[in-house]
Symmetry: D2
Subunit: 226 residues, 4 copies
C-alpha cells in the first residue's frame, strides 16, 4: 500500500485544538491594504487581528503587515522598480509563508489601490515557474478580509479571488470574511462596540478551512506540470 | 504516530499517470451554461470536452450536462420552484460529484443568465449545513471554463469564483481555462481549426491541480465547524 | 443664429416643478427583475415605486413591469426564441419609452438571473442600428435600482452600467439608488418601517438628473454616426 | 415660448464638422493610467492619441496626462496627502475640463492601480457639493479607453463606469473604446502595424456621442438638487 492510497484512506481530520497544537506550525502573512499611513488606526487591522486570533488554535501564526508603510512602486515585476521600492521585501514575506491573507478596505465599492498594486506585482509569478511548472505561490492558500462602511465586500472578494487564483494561490471553502454597515452610512468597523456575531463566526470558519487546506497542501504538493 | 502526522509527512505526490490510474476514480460534473438548446453545437461544449479529456489521465470521469435542456426555474431553493423545474435533478448530480466544472459563454462581458441561475439555486447551500457545519459543497472542488468571441473571461472567472466559494466550493490553483478572440471580432471557439496551444496547456494545468485537490479533500475532509 | 448656438446659449434649466409640468411628459419603463412570481411582494417593487414617485414632479410617468411574469427565453435576439417568449412584448415597451429603470435584487452579491436575461436580449440592439448608425436605445437614459439584504449594490450597478451603456443607453450623473442592510443580515427593504433618508434622497437625485438628461436628449438627438 | 420649450423643439443636431467648428471649443482631459514612467512608450497613449484625433472634428481639444509622472499619494481627499502629492494639480485639470477620458491598461483582467488611485481621490467629490447640490464633476462627461494584451476591457469599463458615475460624471451612449488581442497572447496595441478598423470605428463613435452630450450639458446644467 503506497502513501497515496494511505492519504486516500485517511480518516476525516476532526482537527481538535489538542491534536492541531501537535502539528507543524503554519505561517500566515496578512497584508493590510488600507490607504492610511502606519501610525493611524485601521478597521482592516481590527479584522486582521481577529483572523490572527482565529488562526491560533489551528496552529497558524500570523504576521500583519501595513502595506502603505512600504513604498510599493507601480510595476509588474518582482525586482525593485526603483530606489526604495518596498515590494521585494514584501514578496520575500509571501514566499516564506503558507497562507496569504489579503485585507482591504472598500472605496467606491472596490478594493483599495494599495491592494491592487500588491496584486499587480504578483503578476510576475506567472513567469516564475520552477522545474515542476509551479509558480512561487503554488501550494499556498489565500483568503480575503474586507471592511467598509456600507457595501462592496462580495465584489472585492470576486476581484481578489480571481487575481489571487490567476497568480497561483489556492482558495479554501468559505475563504472570505467581511463587515459592512447599512447602505450609505459612515460607521467604521473599528468603532463598533463589539464584533458582530455573524462576522466573528465567518472569520472562525475561514480560519478553520484555510488552515486545514494549507496543511494538506504543505504535505502534498501539486503534481509536476511540466 | 497518528493519521494526521502521517498526512503531514506524506511525500510530495508527483502524480504520474500510472499511479493515478490506481486511485479511486473521481467524478466531475460539467455544466454547459450556453443559452442554446441541446440540439445546437456549442463552443462551451468544445472546451468542456477538452477538460474531460485532460481529467482522464488524472483518474477523473466527467459528465457534461447542457443546463438549457433542463428548465431551471428562478429561485434560491433546492426544491422544485414549480412544475417541471429541472433544478432538483441537477442538484442531485452536484451532490454526487467530487468536482464541479462551470462552463459558460460570455455575453456583454459577463456570465450567461443560465449560469447565473445555477449559481442562484446553489445559494440554498448556505442554509443546508450538516451536523459538522458543512454545506453540501464542502470538500468539492470547482473550476471554471469560459469561451467568448472577444473579451470577458477574467471577469466571468471573478464572478464565478466568488459565488462558488461563497456557496462552499474550494478552488485549486489555476482553476480556470478560457478562450477569447481579438477585440470586437466574431470568431467562435468551435470554428477554430485547432485548439490554441495556450488554452490547451492551461486546460491541462487546471485538470492536474483540480484533480489533485479534489482527491486530497476527499480523503481529508474540512474540520468540524460547529 | 442657428439652432445649435441657441442650444448652447440656453440658460441653465432650474427645473422647478411648475415649469416642468408644462413640458412634454416623458415615459419611464421600470423592469422589476425579482426572481419572484407576480403575485408575491417584492422589495424591488417598493424601491421602484419610490422612483416612480420621485419622477412625477419632473414630468415623468413610470410603468413598472414584473419581468418574471413574462417568460423571457434565453437568447440574444429581438424576436421570439420560441413559443410564449415574453421578450418581444417587453422590447416593444423599451422602444416606446424615454427612460429605462433596471431594478434588481442582489443574489450572491450579483444581479439576478432575470436581470441578466433582459440584458442579454438587449445585446441584439448592437446589430439593429438605423440609417444614422443609432441603436434603438440611443437617446434613451437608463438608471439602476438595487435592493439586497446586506451587500452588493455597487457591483450590481457596475455590471448594469457597463451592459446598458454597451447596448446604447446614456447614464445621467448619480444614475443609481439602492438599499442594503448590515453585513450578513436578513432584513428586507420591504420590511423597513420607513425608507431610510439616505436612500430616499439618492432616489430623488437620480430622478432629477435622469429626467433632465432624457429631456435634453429627446430634443437633441446624438449626431449621425454613419 | 420659453427657453425650455425651445430646447425641446430644437431640431436634431446633425453635427457636421463645419457647424461644429463654429461652436465653443470643449476641453477634454485624458488620463493615461499606465504603470510606466513618463519616458516609456505606452499602448494606452496610442489609443488616447486616437481619441484626441477623433474629438477634434467635434470641436474638442484634448490634453493627455501621464498620471504616473505625478506622484499621486493614497487617500480620499482633494488636498495634498503629503509633500509632493501630485493630486491637487491633476484635480485642478479635471475641474477645468468638460470631458474626462480615463485611459488604462489591463492587469490581471482589472484596471491598473494607478487608475484606481485616481478614482479614489475623486471619492472626495461626494462631499464637495455646491449650493445647487452639484459635485464638481456634475455636467462633465466621462468616457473610458482600455488596452490590454488579451482580455478584460468590458470589466474595466464596468469598474470605471460605476466609480465615475458615483462621483458625478455623466456617460454618453457607447462611452468606451478598447483593444485586446486573442486569449493569453502578448501583443501590445502599440506594436500593431495599424489600428484595427473595429477599434477605430468605436473610437469615432465614442468621440461623437461624448462631445455631443458634453456640449448639451454645458448649455443646460442639471437642475438644482438642494
Amino acid at each position: 500500500m503506497n502513501s497515496v492510497t494511505k492519504t486516500l484512506e485517511a480518516p476525516i481530520i476532526e482537527a481538535p485544538a489538542a491534536s492541531l497544537r501537535r502539528m507543524t506550525t503554519l505561517k500566515a502573512l496578512a497584508f493590510n491594504c488600507t490607504l492610511k499611513a502606519a501610525d493611524k488606526t485601521s478597521s482592516t487591522d481590527k479584522l486582521l487581528g481577529e483572523i490572527a486570533g482565529a488562526f491560533r488554535p489551528h496552529g497558524v501564526e500570523t504576521e500583519i503587515v501595513r502595506v502603505a508603510a512600504f513604498d510599493v512602486l507601480p510595476g509588474v515585476t518582482s525586482e525593485a522598480e526603483g530606489p526604495g521600492d518596498g515590494w521585494p521585501a514584501l514578496r520575500a514575506k509571501i514566499v516564506a509563508s503558507d497562507i496569504l491573507v489579503m485585507g482591504t478596505p472598500i472605496w467606491l465599492g472596490q478594493p483599495s489601490s494599495v491592494c491592487k498594486r500588491v496584486l499587480e506585482r504578483m503578476d510576475a509569478f506567472l513567469g516564475e515557474t520552477d522545474e515542476r511548472g509551479h509558480m512561487p505561490s503554488y501550494g499556498k492558500v489565500a483568503c480575503v478580509a474586507v471592511v467598509g462602511n456600507e457595501d462592496g465586500a462580495h465584489h472585492v472578494c470576486a476581484e481578489l479571488f480571481q487575481a489571487l487564483n490567476d497568480v497561483g494561490f489556492t482558495l479554501a471553502a468559505s475563504g472570505s470574511t467581511y463587515w459592512v454597515g447599512e447602505a450609505m452610512q459612515k460607521t467604521n468597523y473599528i468603532d463598533l462596540q463589539q464584533s458582530p456575531e455573524k462576522t466573528a463566526s465567518t472569520t472562525k470558519t475561514l480560519a478553520a478551512t484555510t488552515a486545514h487546506l494549507a496543511r494538506l497542501l504543505k504535505g502534498n504538493a501539486y503534481p509536476n506540470l511540466s
